[in-house]
Structures are given as structure tokens and as C-alpha cells.
């Protein structure tokens, strides 16, 4: 009796299934006193709905026959369901690729940054009164302004 009480206390104090299972196997199912506190299979069957209960007597076949009469159609629809994922993945890929290209094309139309260094400027020649002129340019270091000065030879 003392052992039974101890097992019961341990059972409720330690809510770990492995420990509880061990206690059940090693003591509760072996001890006649503890077994008395558990319902037997026949007692359980008297309360639960079982195979022989009147409410389980139904005929599902007529409905199922109707549903299962078109197996070919069902089988046909199954590959489509599998393909659905492939279609979705392809759609996402196309959307991603087109978004990527649109983004880049938008970037191309944006005005380019103003020339900021003298190395970006190339002057082939400047004519003044149909004669090649001496050309100078000045690029101020603190701004992006470039001054070009042409002088008649």
C-alpha cells in the first residue's frame, strides 16, 4: 500500500511520459491493488461506441460507389495537382526575372551623374572664326563646374 501511494505521488509529481510509462509497466500493471483502480476492457467497451453498437450500423457503400465511379477522372486530376506547384514556381521565376529587368531598365533611364573629374572630359579641338583656337579648361575642386576658355590664335 505504501509503495502504491509512493508510485502514485511520483506519477503526478513527474509529468514525463518516459518515467510515467516506467512506473506503469513496473508497478501499476503488476499490482492487483492498483489494477483495481483501472477499468477493464469490458467496462471500457460498455461505455464507448464499439463496432457492435447500433449507431455504427450504417451503409456507406451507395454514397461511396457514386463517388468512386469516376476513378479515371480522379487519376487525371492528380497529375495536375502535382503540376500546380511547377506552374506556381515557374510563375514566381518569371515575375522575379521580369521585375529584375524592369528595375535595371529604369536605372538606365536615370540621368547619369555629372562629370566630376577632368579625366572624363575630352576636347578634340575648338574653332574660333574657322581657325583652331587655344583651349583651356578649369575644373574647380569643390564643385562640378567646368569652365572652358577658347582663345584666338
Amino acid at each position: 500500500m505504501i509503495r502504491c501511494k509512493l508510485v502514485n505521488i511520483l506519477f503526478w509529481l513527474l509529468p514525463i511520459n518516459q518515467i510515467r510509462s516506467y512506473l506503469i509497466q513496473k508497478h501499476i500493471l503488476q499490482c492487483p491493488h492498483c489494477l483495481e483502480k483501472l477499468a477493464s476492457a469490458s467496462e471500457v467497451r460498455s461505455l464507448l461506441a464499439t463496432e457492435n453498437s447500433p449507431e455504427t450500423k450504417v451503409d456507406l457503400w451507395p454514397f461511396l460507389k457514386q463517388k468512386l465511379n469516376t476513378p479515371q477522372e480522379k487519376r487525371k486530376s492528380a497529375p495536375f495537382l502535382q503540376k500546380r506547384w511547377a506552374y506556381a514556381a515557374a510563375g514566381i521565376l518569371i515575375a522575379f526575372a521580369s521585375g529584375f529587368f524592369i528595375f535595371y531598365s529604369l536605372l538606365d533611364h536615370q540621368p547619369k551623374e555629372y562629370l566630376s573629374s577632368s579625366s572624363d572630359i575630352q576636347i578634340q579641338y575648338i574653332n574660333v572664326q574657322s581657325q583652331p583656337a587655344n583651349t583651356y579648361y578649369y575644373h574647380s575642386p569643390d564643385s562640378d563646374f567646368v569652365f572652358i576658355w577658347a582663345e584666338k590664335n
Partner: protein, 185 residues
């Protein structure tokens, strides 16, 4: 055909004999209804669950492993179908309760008339959860041990052993209380 082994029936059906599947349906309707009724507590829902299970089995018979028992495979599919329905039902009831609280007095009266019937075939079993009921039924009706029940319910044998113990204890208490109340009347 009645004395035929389940696996032979399935092979027969896969070879094109429709009557074999009909025999499987007749053989397993009672078992399926019992489990569904205990979990779902409503005959209409139980019938729906059974029909769904048979349709699933019909569509997935090609994946059946003939080295295993058909009954175990059947119970695994059916148990999970019932649990799915319980979850759906619970979500629906929570939604219903939320909406009911927002409604006016007149609407509340109308709802009382058309409320969803909540039948309990075994009113004493309210204290048992669906997992405990399943473990109990498989143990009491089919004679399964905790390991086999664990395989069906997709949990460890320790867990099913605890479910069974708790459920058997609750049933014993229910029966004792019932007897006490009958004696005091």
C-alpha cells in the same frame, strides 16, 4: 469473398475487381464508425469522416505496403482524418462563439433555434480527450498494445501507455460515480 484476407482483397481490387473494395468497406464500416463516433461525438460528422477515409484509401491503395497489416494502415489514416475534423470543428466553434458575442439580442434568439446540435452518444466520456478515447478503443476493441497504438497515433509507446492509464482510471471513476449516484436515488 467474406472469408478472404484483407491483403488479398486489396490485390483483387487492384486487379480490377470492384467487389473486393465493397467488401473492405463493409468489413471496416463498423470499426471506422466506432472510432469516429467516439472522437467526433456526432453521427453525421462520423459518417463524413468515414467516407473521406474510404475515399483516401481508394486513392492511395497503390502506396499500401503489403508487408504490413491493412487494419493498422486503415486505422492510421482514419484516426488522423478524425483528428483533422476535430481541429476544424473547434476552429469553427471558436469563430461561432466570437460572432455570437457580437450579435444583438434578436439575432441571439434566432441562433438558439438554429444552433448546431451537439450530440454526445456517451455523455459520461466528456472528460476524455480524443487521443485517450482512441487509445482506449484500440486497446479494448482491437486488443492492440501500446506499441501498436503508438504507431497508429504517430507517438511513442510511453505516451500511449500514459494515455491508456489515464483513460482507464477516468473510466473507472466515471463508473464508480455513476453507481454511487444510482444508489443515492
Amino acid at each position: 469473398m467474406k472469408g478472404m484476407d484483407d491483403n488479398k482483397l486489396i490485390k483483387g481490387f487492384m486487379n480490377g475487381d470492384y467487389e473486393c473494395f465493397q467488401e473492405i468497406v463493409h468489413r471496416y464500416t463498423g470499426k471506422a464508425m466506432a472510432l469516429a463516433l467516439n472522437i467526433l461525438k456526432n453521427k453525421q460528422d462520423a459518417e463524413d469522416a468515414c467516407q473521406d477515409t474510404f475515399i483516401r484509401i481508394f486513392n492511395n491503395l497503390e502506396g499500401f505496403d503489403f508487408d504490413k497489416k491493412f487494419k493498422d494502415w486503415f486505422y492510421t489514416i482514419h484516426y488522423h482524418r478524425c483528428i483533422d475534423l476535430v481541429r476544424k470543428k473547434n476552429r469553427f466553434y471558436r469563430f461561432l462563439v466570437k460572432n455570437k458575442n457580437r450579435k444583438t439580442g434578436k439575432q441571439k434568439k434566432e441562433d438558439k433555434v438554429h444552433s448546431i446540435p451537439r450530440k454526445l452518444p456517451r455523455r459520461y466520456l466528456k472528460t476524455l480527450n480524443p487521443k485517450e478515447k482512441t487509445a482506449l478503443l484500440l486497446w479494448a476493441q482491437e486488443g492492440y498494445q501500446s506499441k501498436e497504438i503508438g504507431e497508429i497515433m504517430k507517438c511513442s509507446s510511453s505516451t500511449t501507455r500514459v494515455y491508456l492509464y489515464k483513460a482507464r482510471k477516468k473510466i473507472k471513476n466515471i463508473l464508480e460515480n455513476k453507481n454511487d449516484s444510482l444508489q443515492t436515488r
